[in-house]
Amino acid sequence: MTAATAPRRRLVDRLPVVHQVRQSVGLQRFMLVVGLVLTGVFVLVAISAPLLAPYGYNQLRGEAGAFGSRQPPSAEHLWGTTVGGFDVFSRVIWGTQTALLVIIVAVVLSIFIGVLLGLVSGYLGGWVDRVLVVVADAVYAFPSLLLAIVVAIVISGGQSSLLGGVMAAAISITVVFIPQYFRVIRAETVRIKAEAFVESARVIGAPTTRIMFRHVLRNATRTLPLIFTLNSSEAILTLAGLGFLGFGIEPTAAAEWGYDLNKAIADVTSGIWWTGLFPGLAIVFAVLGITLVGESLNDLADPRLRQRRAAAVGAGDVAETSVVPGGVLDAPGGIDGLEGGAR
């Protein structure tokens, strides 16, 4: 809560990511910049997929007839064709769009619900709070992918439209993420609730909803960007996991990397590498980019891990924001970056 007293910095320095880039040095800056570039490419490819992809994601034949199954890479099909006769290159490109859509829907939904629940639960307390905490902890402890599968089956008992498939995948991921936002926001709310300014607001008679949303929520949200980036990469992995196990989006509805990898496993034994390699690499680089951004932000926000920063730019109000989705471990020396794989 140093924002009120700290001298205002120039606008450029206060922009979220720009500030961190300027703050970082050496290796840390390198990792952050690589992450930003990879993420930027991912988003750009997703937006311009219709321009980049030579064929549709569910296109089986071109002007020269059917593409054919398991064709090796050639001039017509840069990365070959899948066992189902789709163009691998096009499906990888279109797949970015599916992944980005699912990330956006899943993260927005879970932030909205998780933040609301965490705020209400933390501020009002009582038995509702206790029940919610126990439920969130139980869900959090359970293998998230399994939960996502169960939810996916319940939602989409055979959905095949793009919107339906994306929504089903996104909601499955949301159910898994809500506890993470819930826990972080709740912990912040409980802390902020005890601050003097909340008490003063209560004394002058501000209504509870106003205190909750104006005084508490605004101060509790500074950790969200970190969880947001870390969760985005997890969303990609969960989506791919769902697709791989056959509970994701139908291939005719949208291109999805996990589904393609599932089909590619059988190709491996006959030495066919192109059907699996490219969708797999797409997942790895998408997750890598987002994770690098998330980790760098987390490291920069944690004074124990931060390297000496560029002198001109103060750490300012990011100093205490080291947050991992499951809560920071209270252990000797501290633990960071372990949240990575809670799948």
Binding site: V134, V135, P143, N262, I265, T291, I335
Partner: protein
């Protein structure tokens, strides 16, 4: 209040979910802490079982889900009534809870086997896989994490950190696919899939009182060919799943060793002329291990989730593989049973880990 490990989840400087023991006990001691943590196992399992039951039933009754479309409507209705699925949901739910409590998980619909038998048959395979992958994770994560801490902020550190992120960013099934492609197909060193070759598997099933854990069974046959065969089959799945966890361990060890390297006692040792390598190896390493133990609990849950993907990739016929088969067959009775077992495993592991952490470090006791 936190069921997943009181010390692990608590952000410092906040006052979250104060456990009952903290507010009332004011000390309380180890016995009390263990008791409270033990009692918290039950709500965790209860919530998960309830959640899965309700989710599964929102789509209808298990008989229609599994057999709908394959049986004429009158036979379907007959079977639904026989199984009691036409009764109110609440009655079914209470009956199901009672069954779970007595260890009776029902009979699968698709292949008509007692769920408990399924659990025992395939549980061993998953346990074996989880064990192997934990070994890989420790072998990779702990030494490399120490090396990364030793080379902090230099190139060695950079390479290892990026390696760790790659481990995390690569889905298990893609890692498995690459490993298969390289070591099974191109080099021909290791088997592509399965837990053992057909001949060994046959020998193993002939064994009396088979544990389902192939390594133990193979050792009991005393046949070194079978032991070798079983171990060779385990290499790739163990690496695929182990690297994922290993990457997380690496980051964990690195961060913690760096943290302890900044302590006064390490500075004191350094000023006495202890070499930097020895500082990492002897002084900073052990205190850094304590938080790792507390994190293993969370990793077990992750391993179980990862096991589903790994088992499917390598046709490793364990609980995860079987779970996916039952899910695809919409056999909800079997799914509920397996999920209930997994919930128990997760809750008990977290309990054990908390107890170990409390024994090692008295500060985590409230």
């Amino acid at each position: 209040m936190t069921t997943t490990g009181v010390p692990v989840e608590t952000p410092p400087g906040t006052a979250p979910a104060a456990p009952a023991a903290k507010t009332r006990g004011g000390g309380g001691g180890l016995g009390r802490y263990i008791l409270i943590r033990f009692l918290l196992i039950f709500p965790t399992v209860f919530i998960l079982v309830t959640l899965v039951f309700l989710l599964m039933r929102t789509t209808g009754d298990p008989i229609t889900a599994a057999l709908g479309g394959r049986l004429p409507p009158d036979q379907l209705a007959e079977r639904i009534r026989e199984a009691g699925y036409d009764r109110p949901l609440l009655v079914q739910y209470l009956e199901y809870l009672g069954q779970v409590f007595t260890g009776n998980f029902g009979t699968t619909i698709s292949d008509n086997r007692p769920v408990i038998e399924v659990l025992f048959t395939y549980g061993g395979a998953t346990l074996e896989l989880a064990f192997y992958s934990l070994i890989v994770a420790f072998l990779v994560g702990i030494p490399l994490g120490m090396v990364a801490a030793y080379f902090r902020d230099r190139w060695g550190d950079a390479v290892l950190r990026i390696f760790a992120i790659f481990c995390y960013a690569t889905p298990v099934f893609f890692a498995g696919l690459l490993l298969k492609l390289i070591f099974s197909v191109q080099l021909g060193w290791l088997p592509v899939a399965g837990r053992a070759s057909t001949r060994s598997e046959l020998d193993l099933t002939l064994l009396d009182n088979a544990t389902g854990i192939y390594l133990i069974d193979a050792i009991r046959t005393g046949n070194s060919d079978i032991i070798q065969d079983v171990l060779l089959h385990a290499v790739l799945p163990a690496i695929a799943l182990g690297l994922l966890t290993g990457g997380i361990f690496l980051r964990l060890v690195r961060t913690n060793v760096i943290g302890t390297l900044g302590r006064d006692y390490v500075d004191a040792a350094r000023s006495r002329g202890v070499s930097e390598f020895r500082l990492v190896r002897k002084h900073a390493y052990k205190p850094a291990l304590i938080p790792i133990i507390t994190v293993i609990g969370l990793q077990i849950a992750m391993l179980l989730g990862g096991a589903v993907l790994t088992e499917t990739t390598f046709e490793w016929k364990g609980l995860g593989f079987q779970l996916v088969e039952y899910l695809q067959a919409r056999d909800f009775v079997a799914v509920q049973g397996i999920v209930a077992l997994l919930a128990v495993i997760v809750a008990v592991t977290n309990f054990l880990v908390d107890i170990i952490a409390a024994l090692i470090d008295p500060r985590v006791r409230y």
